[in-house]
């Protein structure tokens, strides 16, 4: 017999196998609106008051944020006490893009297309980003039975009616054009022979509108965008983080202080418009959760934007993806794409019961997994954690032999590395910290509402998805809002005349912190998580 798991798991798998045929004959019932609400209130991590703290200073003073984020907002600027000579300008550009992920790259391409002198600075390499890791796909209402209005309804409802209508409108109305743009750059979407896009459901979609490039959707998009950035000769300064924004004496944003990650040297970039495209916050490990995010996802953009006076929105709303790997330990937190459920795998507890519909929205499914584990129907993992099954062998039964290797090759490879053949046995999952629903607030034009010349795009934005993002709407938003930000930033840069550069807002913020009596003994933004173990 094939036994890739410890004994207790193999025992549980017997129950999963025993119930499989019966489970496959019926689809699990969808929850009612009330049932969903109750499940969320009882089990979703966002509803744990002790995991949040009040923000003591700045435009969102008095509101809640995850403890770890509040801590960063309350910490000292990295450049406090550093002698930064603002008269020595190292880079002088029209548009400065902070972050070389999907949002930053599409922004830079459009700014360049518009004729601006644009530059990207990025913490690691261009493409070392959450965008590279997106597996499942990208939404767009481009099929006949679908429409942007239907997409609007799904996005707005899935986000608990909290999204900003003007942003959702842009998202859904410009979605088909985003796909077309990517396709014309050479992104290889999955298509039928006649060119029809192969589209599937994602959690919370009412139409099959998830476009994919196997389960390397984000990688395919990211590597194409990166290639295009390089082809165009757009300067990309890698291993360089923005640590604070610079303003001018008129109070508008005028650039950023950069830190060379390797040498520790500071540099000054002056720019007429600045786009924050720094992505997510998974490596902040809110509530101790493992994460699916890349190494540099530490909410930097939120911190430096906030210190410059930009407003946050829904900073207390975090997405935990229901299916992160919980076993084996080497891949802890790694994402098991929602597509595994889109193509047929059910969520099954330790008793072999399909306890929920596998394609409820993410927050609901994540809460479901947490409930099953909390109430004793999970499967024990060495080290004390628990998980539930994702019944992958169903995919091969439903779609025919070879479906797994064809449709979700990255997943297959990740598990095979550790001798687990998901065609034969189910895989064990638990929620993983996945996405920052909130971020800096913008208007429909991509600019922050209260700070001149400052734009935000991508996961660093709050408000596009309300309080829960649907799969496939983030890859979409980074393209739609990334492109728009590039165009808008380029246009605006022609009108801007900068005054004298200053960092006085950093001093003011420090004074505010002092007056509020907050002291953390830490510096922010975090830049990289502290993983190195030091014995003493």
């Amino acid at each position: 017999m094939y036994t890739p798991y410890p004994e207790n798991m193999m025992e549980s798998i017997k129950k999963v196998e025993a119930s499989r045929q019966a489970r496959m004959a019926t689809e699990p019932r969808r929850l009612t609106a009330d049932e969903k609400d109750n499940l969320l209130k009882e089990f979703h991590p966002d509803y744990k008051p002790e995991a949040f703290a009040e923000i003591k200073v700045g435009p969102n003073k008095g509101e809640k944020a995850p403890l770890e984020l509040a801590n960063m907002l309350h910490s000292t600027s990295r450049i406090c006490g550093e002698n930064i000579d603002l008269t020595k300008v190292d880079y002088d550009v029209d548009v400065l893009v902070i972050g070389g992920g999907g949002a930053g790259s599409s922004c830079a391409i459009e700014a360049h297309e518009a004729g601006a002198n644009v530059m990207i600075v990025t913490k690691l390499r261009i493409g070392d980003a959450n965008t590279m890791m997106a597996e499942g796909g990208i939404q767009a209402a481009d099929k006949e039975n679908d429409s942007p209005v239907q997409h609007y309804l799904d996005c707005f409802g899935g986000g608990h009616f909290a999204a900003k209508p003007e942003l959702v409108k842009k998202l859904v109305m410009e979605a088909p054009d985003a796909i077309k743009w990517l396709n014309e750059l050479g992104v290889e979407f999955d298509k039928e022979e006649d060119g029809t896009m192969i589209t599937t459901h994602g959690g919370g979609t009412s139409r099959k509108r998830m476009h994919a490039a196997k389960d390397y959707s984000g990688a395919e998009i990211m590597r194409t965008l990166r290639d295009e950035v390089i082809n165009r000769g757009i300067p990309v300064v890698e291993f360089t983080s923005a640590v604070e924004l610079i303003k001018d004496d008129k109070g508008q944003v005028a650039g950023a202080v950069l830190l060379n990650m390797e040498t520790g040297d500071y540099m000054v970039a002056r720019a007429k418009t600045v786009v924050i495209a720094t992505g997510g916050a998974g490596r902040m490990h809110y509530q101790g959760f493992p994460t699916s995010n890349h190494y540099g996802a530490t909410a930097d953009g939120l911190v430096l934007g906030y210190r410059a006076g930009a407003k946050l929105l829904y900073q207390d709303s975090i997405q935990y993806h229901p299916t992160g790997a919980i076993y084996p330990s080497q891949i802890l937190g790694a994402l098991v794409t929602e597509k595994v459920r889109s193509v047929g795998a059910q969520l099954v507890n330790g008793e072999g019961e399909a306890y929920i519909h596998p394609l409820e929205t993410r927050d609901v499914n994540a809460s479901g997994v947490i409930r099953e584990c909390a109430e004793g129907r999970g499967v024990d993992v060495p080290g004390g954690a628990k998980g539930v099954w994702l019944d992958t062998p169903m995919i091969e039964i439903l779609g025919g032999e070879g479906t797994i290797e064809k449709r979700i090759p990255a997943m297959f490879r990740m598990y095979m590395n550790y001798g687990i053949d998901m065609r034969k046995v189910p895989i064990l999952i638990y929620p993983t910290l996945h996405y920052q629903n909130g971020g800096l607030e913008i208007g429909g034009d991509g600019f922050t509402k209260n700070i001149e010349n400052l734009l935000v795009a991508g996961e660093a934005v709050g408000g596009i998805h309300g309080r829960n993002r649907l799969m496939g709407n983030s890859l979409l938003d980074i393209i739609v809002f990334g492109r728009n930000a590039g165009k808008a930033a380029a246009k605006k840069s022609q009108e801007v005349t900068l005054g004298e550069l200053t960092l006085s807002h950093i001093e003011d913020y420090a004074k505010e912190l002092k007056a509020a009596g907050v002291e953390t003994n830490e510096v922010s933004p975090l830049l990289l998580p502290k993983y190195a173990r030091h014995e003493r």
Binding site: A33, L124, R125, G127, D128, A129, M132, M133, D142, K143, E144, N145, P148, V149, Q150, L153, F156, G157, F161, V168, K169, M173, P176, K180, E184, L185, G186, E188, F189, K191, E193, G195, T196, M197, S206, Y216, A219, R223, T224, D227, I230, N231, F239, E262, S292, H294, Y295, G296, P328, S329, Q330, P409, A410, R413, M414, N417, L528, K530, A532, R533
Partner: protein, 224 residues
């Protein structure tokens, strides 16, 4: 006591828990990674690594974030490798027989040693995709190279100095843009939107009160 193994980072010995990956083992040893670490989950190719197990003469390549440590492992990371990407304007080039010759002529110097395939961290048939590129069979090259994460391990071993991931990328962009069939429904929808056919409908739904939106949402029909 945890099960420990001895590994050597750049020749220096460390004792680390056996269930760690090379990447987490380096952190356990005290390294703060700046280079050679990106996604940490096998997608970005930042963590290309070369190693040899003591007593074995075979040199192996892997992704540090996807590979478990072993006893006697001598590890060196390759955080950067000078692969050579040629630049082009995607709107001007076409999937012709000559394009590879123009942009990546060195692929025609492949000696068929298969070192690239043996080095591939994704288990791809790299020599084969280079062969497809030589024949201007871009679709096949794209298909065969699709799962490439651009780690560059193949290129480190190639006697012909070929930058394999760049060749695959060019083939994929050519395929995606020029060879794959056009999508009629996508073109149509973009035109409908540009003609303003959804403007009124979208304004209407934007104006609806939350209670009505809740009703619409909770009763919406879901495609089977």
């Amino acid at each position: 006591m945890e099960n420990m193994v001895n590994v050597f980072f750049y020749g220096k010995k460390y004792s680390v828990p056996a269930d760690l990956t090379i990447m987490t083992a380096m952190e356990y040893a005290g390294y703060t990674l700046k280079r050679g670490c990106g996604c940490r989950h096998g997608f970005c190719g930042a963590c290309a690594t070369i190693y040899r197990i003591k007593g074995d003469n075979e040199l192996k390549t892997c992704l540090a974030c996807q590979t478990q440590v072993q006893e006697g492992m001598y590890v060196a990371s390759i955080p950067f490798f000078p692969t050579d990407k040629r630049t082009y304007n995607i709107n001007e080039i076409k999937p012709t027989n000559q394009i590879m010759m123009e942009l990546y002529p060195e692929i025609y110097s492949c000696i068929g040693c298969n070192a690239c395939t043996n080095a591939c961290t994704q288990g791809l048939n790299v020599m084969q995709y280079i062969a497809y590129a030589q024949r201007a069979d871009f679709e096949k090259c794209a298909e065969e190279s699709f799962d490439c994460v651009g780690c560059g391990c193949c290129s480190t071993r190639c006697p012909a100095g070929i930058s394999h991931p760049m060749v695959g990328l060019l083939a994929r962009r050519l395929t995606g843009k020029y060879i794959a069939p056009e999508t009629e429904h996508l073109k149509n929808r973009v035109e409908e939107i540009n003609r303003g056919e959804y403007d009124e409908l979208i304004e209407q739904i934007m104006q609806k009160p939350i209670t009505e939106m809740q009703e619409l949402y909770n009763t919406r029909e879901i495609e089977k």
